[in-house]
């Protein structure tokens, strides 16, 4: 486990930077439709923000933001979200991963595929985030 090192500079800079990094990660995830970006890249940036918190604030404080168990669970949830997004259109009469058959009221046709891609990207981002944070937490845990 990382212990906290008392340094006001590091702590303040970390507290200032992390929200911007997280907003930028959300931007990268949702901007995948129009330019470079997407779930993999955005998920890694989001994970990097939580790793920065863990490095600067130490384990005890940072684990309140995202507990290690919750991180792994989030990763599993992301992959599950992707798989279920494929399965739901199958229930609605389409084929596996055929977003055109997602039962979302109010949108149809190409818009529906747009929404489907967005859901899948969010799932990928959760998966990558959970795995990155999970590996980091298990790497740094103190061997006592």
């Amino acid at each position: 486990m990382i212990t906290r090192y008392e340094s006001p500079i590091v702590e303040v800079v970390c507290r200032v930077i992390v929200p911007f990094v997280q907003v930028f990660a959300l931007y990268v995830i949702t901007h995948g439709h129009y330019g470079p970006g997407g779930g993999f890249q955005g998920g890694v940036i989001l994970a990097a923000s939580f790793l920065l918190l863990r490095l600067c604030l130490g384990g005890e404080l940072a684990h309140q933001k995202l507990p290690p168990r919750l991180a792994i669970a989030l990763g599993a949830f992301g992959v599950l979200l992707y798989g279920l997004t494929g399965l739901v259109p199958m229930m609605a009469g389409g084929q596996y991963l055929d977003y055109g058959h997602l039962p979302i009221p109010g949108v149809s046709g190409a818009e529906l595929r747009y929404v489907g891609i967005l859901i899948v990207e969010i799932g990928i981002a959760f998966g990558v985030l959970g795995i990155m944070v999970g590996i980091f937490d298990n790497l740094v845990e103190r061997q006592s």
């Binding site: 995948g32 439709h33 129009y34 330019g35 997407g38 779930g39 792994i72 990763g75 599993a76 992301g78 992959v79 992707y82 798989g83 494929g86 596996y96 991963l97 977003y99 190409a110 818009e111 595929r113 747009y114 489907g116 891609i117 899948v120 990207e121 799932g123 990928i124 998966g127 990558v128 959970g130 795995i131 990155m132 999970g134 590996i135 298990n138 790497l139 845990e141 061997q143 006592s144």
Partner: protein, 100 residues
Amino acid sequence: MKWLSLFILGLVMALLIYAETDLPDRGDPEAPANQHVSPLYLERTVEDTHTPNAVTSVLADYRGYDTLGETVVIFTAGIACVLILMRRRSDDNQIRKPNS
């Protein structure tokens, strides 16, 4: 033995370089790989998915099953890393027996 393997390596390299001269140029629009479905994807991505970025529409929609596998591979590899790291920790906690 060392010279033999070097000789075989050189032979395979010459063979590969010879075969490579027959491959189409990179980005050649006449190449078979660029003739089959790629033009359809590029033409219909906006009309099919409202997504101007063809990379994303191919990655997440046209080839969504592939990306699902990719995500599962990443997740499985990560879980395996986590499990191995946990195992190492619990091993260190135990007192070593003299004969093991």
